[in-house]
Symmetry: C2
């Protein structure tokens, strides 16, 4: 390893023939310093290849210019899109993203949150409302502003940017009911520790109840999000409680899995079976006949969370709740119930 110690600001100051204080100001408070002094400092910086020492600066300013995000599996395309958008938004303001991910595990989330707070995150982004109570308490105590994404706090007490999963889910279900479907099955996401999945399922029940219908337990199956599980879940439902005319997928991969399995079994979609998803990933629009789904603006959620946090750090007030639109996108996998 290179033994040569990196140059410090003092070296820059010496090379530029100014004091440490002036060198510091030339870099972080440019217009407090005379033009020519500033350029001498900058030359020295370039010559020495000086790179500021973030930890030292952070210690002195009590700011790291870093935002922490704790996400469920970032490999879910929707979180990936949000992560990218968030990172971009932050980079534009000179901030950097500290990312931790977990597998829908509240304890891991707490540990990750603690790690990010220790690292000095100036703000935090979390997903959903299911957390260990200590998680939010920790942030409050440390005085770290945070944004909850995807979900919306019903009490409107904490800063959120997201959508109402329940009402979107109600719209999906109503769409199916309007098409005449009465026998509906659900392949839900894993609802343990995932309030979004829970709300989506609850929305289906709500919509049915509003028309005096019930969702029998055997018509519901929970599966971790993936195409393969969509297939599996569909196959299981078919065996366990056949007779349904529509399947509501907890997200798009699950719905696409169900669709592929139906196709493989020669079940005509949407002729004999309607299918809906949730999220509107790219493939939903590309895979014929097009998946009926809810568009969740995940990249915008990420970007918006970043914007709001930056605004709050700059002392500006932002509305506590930022609800995004989540329109129903009707495509080819839903149609009138057969025989109507």
């Amino acid at each position: 390893m290179p033994a040569k110690p990196s140059p410090r600001l003092a070296d820059v100051a010496r090379a530029a023939g100014v004091s440490l204080a002036t060198a510091s100001r030339a870099l972080s408070e440019p217009d407090m310093v005379r033009e020519d002094t500033r350029s001498r400092v900058q030359e020295a910086v370039a010559m020495l290849g000086y790179v500021p020492h973030g930890a030292a600066r952070a210690l002195a300013t009590r700011r790291t210019r870093t935002i922490g995000a704790v996400f469920p599996p970032v490999d879910n395309p929707i979180f990936a899109g949000a992560t990218h958008a968030l990172a971009q938004e932050l980079a534009g303001a000179g901030y950097t993203l500290l990312l931790a991910s977990h597998d829908y595990d509240a304890d891991a989330e707490l540990a990750a949150t603690r790690a990010l707070v220790e690292r000095g995150a100036d703000g935090m982004v979390l997903v959903g409302l299911d957390h260990r109570p200590e998680t939010l308490a920790l942030l409050e105590r440390a005085g770290v502003p945070y944004e909850i994404t995807w979900a919306l706090d019903p009490g409107a007490m904490i800063h959120c940017v997201g959508i109402s999963h329940r009402s979107a889910s109600i719209r999906v279900t109503q769409h199916l009911l309007d098409l005449g479907h009465r026998e509906i099955a659900v392949i839900a996401g894993d609802t343990r520790g995932n309030d979004r999945a829970r709300e989506r399922l609850a929305g289906v029940k709500d919509a049915l109840a509003a028309r005096g219908l019930r969702l029998p337990a055997r018509r519901v199956i929970e599966m971790p999000f993936s195409v393969a599980n969509g297939r599996k879940g569909f196959a299981t439902l078919l065996k366990r409680a056949p007779g349904f005319t529509a399947v509501i997928g907890g997200n798009d991969p699950l719905a696409i899995g169900a669709f592929l399995e139906a196709q493989a079994r020669g079940i005509d979609v949407p002729g004999r079976l309607s299918i809906t998803g949730f999220d509107d990933i790219e493939l939903a629009g590309e895979l014929p006949p097009g998946l009926t789904t809810v568009r969740v603006p995940s990249a915008e959620i990420g970007r918006e969370a970043g914007k709001r946090l930056l605004a709050r750090l700059a002392g500006k007030a932002v509305p506590v709740i930022r609800e995004m639109a989540a329109p129903l996108i009707v495509r080819g996998t839903t149609g009138p119930v057969a025989g109507k």
Copy 2:
């Protein structure tokens, strides 16, 4: 905002009735401290809700326990998977991921790298071999160990973990040649600033050349990676230079796009047209008849990069080059050329 200042280690020390030094050791060097002293300190920590101040620690130790990663769009599923695996691997060792992403832009990559070095990343993960020369120079100068992922340095001078895109691509092409295909078209990824895409394309040409064949320029189109672009690219090729019997996609989304477009046009796959992809994303195996592709172990690459970096930081030596297997996965989209 809560005005109450967070407790410092000195407060913990006072509460526990020990000196600052002892409190520090109780937390970071537990077995230098007697059992009962340690537990008194820990009680004080719990009571005060003490959270260590990372910047201060970093300043004193010259270590941030943080690894930086600069990735192209993290919303590409393969990078997303690698990011998740990397973050998990690091978390297991008490490290945290500093993530920056860019849109295949070398200047943005350089800026992001500088930002992460300033933040004190103890190590860095980059993707591919296309960089501004300053990027690697900066890391060398700062003495920050780094790993290149996905690609392999032909000179074996820099630490890499990845696959040989060229030879994998050669295998794909040979597979098609073996099936009798001679008229081959390519929907490549955008090769500007993307050495992987370039190598894949070069591999196709190599394999053809080895059998005395050429790849005419009009049979090649470059498109940013996406399903929609796969469709578009395929349509363009069909118009511009029809008569090919096989399409090589630069990655799976492009190949899937081509496949969907072919299907939409009633072209029988693999009867009249063979299609191959690259990466082996989940859908490649799920979408009938199954996409023939190359399996790129992206999550393993991420995990391995983390492992190697941690090992190097711990002073262990690791082989400079870590080549991962990238097997050809033959599925249903490739078959013998029609009429053979």
